[in-house]
């Protein structure tokens, strides 16, 4: 957002944000509710597994991925059927067992399989696209504490690009919510200063 203050550390590095570690999933969910209610927008919760009920605690809107997958899956069904019909009836009409070349019943199995393949690919690739992955590095991945998330740590990070971000305010809010550690994370070197985007 234009005019947004850029925070820098004493060494001059741009601040990516503040992360806080919590002891267990219960504290994490409770703290996420606090962050949500405080009105932050550019923040995220990090846990070794999807914590039950975190969508509500974070106030996330349901993903639109199922709609995309349904559309692409049906596209696969249509392509599969049209291709077979074209081959069997138009391009290479081969009469065997005296059966009509334009019957649809024999096309069902392959149509189904092609639809399944399209659905599966769009679910996986759509998941990557919606999550802005692949991404080879991330400022958070330079924090030793954050690397423990893949093991057994529970972390909330608020990004500096959030309009409400203010290092001391964020720290005291995390401490009030029961954080066991709070840490400042620097932006990667030479990274362009990002513009605030709503999730």
């Amino acid at each position: 957002m234009a005019g947004k203050k850029v925070y820098k550390t004493e060494s001059g590095a741009v601040v990516y944000g503040v992360l806080a570690e919590f002891a267990n999933p219960a504290d994490l969910a409770h703290a996420a509710e606090n962050v949500r209610d405080a009105g932050y927008r550019n923040w995220d919760v990090y846990s070794p597994f999807p914590v039950h009920g975190m969508e509500e605690a974070m106030g996330q809107t349901p993903t639109k991925l199922p709609i995309l997958v349904a559309c692409l899956g049906l596209t696969g069904v249509f392509i599969g059927f049209a291709f077979q019909y074209f081959v069997r009836h138009v391009e290479y009409p081969l009469v065997h067992q005296g059966k009509p070349t334009d019957s649809w019943q024999v096309l069902v199995p392959v149509t189904f399989e092609i639809g399944v393949a399209f659905t599966a690919f769009s679910a996986l690739i759509g998941m990557f696209v919606f999550n802005a992955l692949p991404r080879w590095n991330h400022p958070l991945l330079r924090s030793e504490r954050f690397l423990g998330v893949s093991d057994d740590k529970f972390v909330i990070a608020i990004e500096a690009i959030d309009e409400k971000f203010e290092p001391h305010g964020v720290r005291s809010m995390f401490e009030k919510a029961g954080a066991i550690a709070v840490e400042l994370v620097e932006e990667e070197m030479d990274a362009p200063i990002k513009v605030s985007v709503a999730h």
């Binding site: 919590f22 991925l65 399944v116 999550n131 992955l133 590095n137 893949s150």
Partner: protein, 555 residues
């Protein structure tokens, strides 16, 4: 026990806040390792030994980082040596012709298609466990799904080889697929054999996607552990024996690339879980369709013994039956070979799979009986003769035909091998001690695997070897090439599985952590203290401080 009714101290310890000494391993006479809880009101623990999240990570990643042990390299060498037979035999087949197999005018399909159906059937258990048990919210699947999915992929690789090489002119195999070509010839889309090409290739692709997607968070865990060690050890880190490269550098790069930069964000988890659920939802009809379509290869023909409407469900039940047997044959030795695996794959897991084997064994037994009923009820002499005089009657029960000749089934031994392995041997699982004894389960699973191979042999060869006219009757005898190709495919399967246990996570760590009791934010042990750990030292029973609105879930 603590996983069912824990106190605050246990809660803090499980959350990794305070260290505690290892509790002694449970060896209860009733619950055995602690997982065989009889009380229907109490959920059996899915992870034993009161493990913390970190211990699960260390156990599973340890198999890769420390290596599986000294047994691995000799085992791998042996398996790879046996696997080498397969390309050798295929090469011999390609430069000589399908005559090197025991095929003849009567029996045009034999071990090649038997092996194909055998392997593709084994492949069904993986997707069943990942997809159907996922939709049914069977949480015990989390410890076995990764190994079962890996097994699926490897079984499908073995399966796909056989139809590829049995076409005779192997260099023409590409014509199976609908490519535009100079002769303007297209494949026949109304043929079940072409449906099979699409079903098997879709199945292989979707199973691989499913397997990979489940592994993304685990790859990220391996990446982060390697990165942490690099940060802490610096240039003192362990190096490769052959080059001056740090092992963890390779791990961080390779697992990092495979993890696609996954960083365990809750927003990502949300999309990931939706995508995973959709993959499970689409894989469920897929897994049912694949073996149904395989059975169409037979069912749509006019050969007595093949021309049967019961084939699709019969084949699917048989595939699940044989697949679970193979999962058990792989997991039971793994439990012994890998330290700590008995806490993740409990006796309860083995018992559950034994029950599935018992049920699906009944389904195939019912199908075998129903084939005879339909042969009798249809009043079709050819159908009846296939079942009685090609399969059922052993020589010592031979009957005298109208021409005075003794009539008996030349393949009676195959039929009775199938019946005793597939119908009789699983009956052992009526007894609880058998369902709870890994040795007994392994023996039954081994018998079932043999029986399922014989089932396909019986269906394919006994139906073909005697056509409608007695002048067309012949026999099939396997050649050494037949046998060695199959042995080679078993070696290929085992080689791939050994590579999997060496380099890839054998357990879905994030999923296992998610079904542990302390993963639930509403777990009783957390009470409503919300991280104010100082208040919780009293160790009062957590149920007392529970607010009435909080769901009181255990696992």
């Amino acid at each position: 026990m603590s996983a069912i009714n824990p106190d605050q101290t246990t809660a803090q310890r499980l959350a990794g806040m305070i260290p505690a000494p290892k509790p002694p391993r449970m060896d209860d006479p009733v619950t055995r390792d602690g997982s065989l809880v009889e009380d229907p009101a109490a959920r059996a623990p899915l992870v034993l030994g009161d493990r913390t999240f970190g211990e699960v990570t260390d156990t599973v990643c340890g198999y890769i980082e420390k290596g599986p042990g000294r047994w691995w390299l000799p085992a791998f060498g042996l398996a790879a040596g046996v696997a080498g037979l397969m390309p050798l035999m295929i090469l011999y087949l390609a430069i000589t012709g399908v005559g090197v197999w025991g095929l003849n005018n009567q029996v045009g399909w034999a071990w090649d298609i038997t092996n194909f159906v055998f392997w593709i059937g084994i492949g069904h258990a993986g997707t069943l466990i990942s997809a159907i048990l996922c939709l049914l919210k069977q949480k015990w699947r989390t410890s076995i799904n990764r190994a079962a999915e890996a097994m699926t992929i490897f079984a499908v690789i073995c399966a796909g080889t056989f139809p590829g090489v049995h076409v005779g002119r192997i260099w023409m195999t590409w014509m199976l697929f609908p490519f535009p070509n100079a002769n303007a010839i297209w494949p026949n889309f109304s043929s079940p054999l072409l449906w099979d090409v699409f079903a098997v290739s879709t199945y292989a692709t979707v199973s691989a996607l499913f397997w990979y997607m489940g592994m993304i968070p685990d790859f990220a865990t391996l990446r982060d552990r390697a990165a942490l060690r690099l940060m802490r050890q610096g240039s003192n880190a362990e190096r490769l024996p052959i080059a001056n490269i740090r092992v963890d550098m390779i791990r961080a790069r390779v697992y990092g690339a495979l993890s696609m930069g996954w960083r365990f964000s809750a927003r990502h988890w949300h999309t990931y879980e939706k995508a995973y659920l959709m993959l499970a939802g689409i894989s469920t009809p897929l897994v049912l369709s694949v073996h149904s379509i395989v059975s169409f290869d037979f069912a749509t023909s006019v050969i007595p013994g093949w021309h049967t409407t019961i084939f699709p469900p019969y084949f699917v039940a048989g595939a699940i039956f044989g697949g679970f047997a193979m999962v058990l044959m792989l997991l039971i030795p793994s439990r012994e070979l890998f330290p700590g695996m008995k806490d993740l794959v409990t006796l309860r897991h083995l018992e559950n799979m034994s029950k599935i084997i018992l049920v699906t064994g009944f389904m195939v037994g019912f199908a075998y009986a129903m084939e005879f009923f339909v042969a009798w009820y249809s009043a079709n002499r050819y159908e009846q003769d296939v079942f009685i005089y090609n399969r059922l009657l052993p020589p010592f029960f031979a009957v005298t035909g109208a021409d005075g000749q003794l009539k008996y089934a030349p393949y009676w031994w195959a039929y009775w091998a199938m019946i005793s392995c597939n119908v009789i041997s699983p009956q052992l699982f009526w007894f609880k001690w058998a369902r709870q004894s890994p040795v007994a389960i392994f023996i039954v699973a081994f018998a079932v695997t043999i029986g399922m191979w014989f089932e396909r042999f019986v269906i394919i060869v006994t139906s073909l070897h005697r056509a409608f006219l007695p002048s067309e009757w012949g026999m099939f005898f396997a050649t050494p090439v037949d046998i060695l190709t199959f042995v080679g495919s078993c070696g290929t399967f085992l080689t791939l599985y050994l590579l999997f246990v060496r380099f890839l996570p054998q357990f879905a760590m994030s999923e296992i952590k998610n079904v542990m009791p302390q993963a639930n934010p509403h777990w009783e042990g957390y009470g409503h203290t919300h991280g104010h750990a100082g208040q919780a030292s009293g160790g009062a029973p957590a149920g007392v401080v529970h607010a009435p609105d909080a769901p009181k879930e255990g696992v």
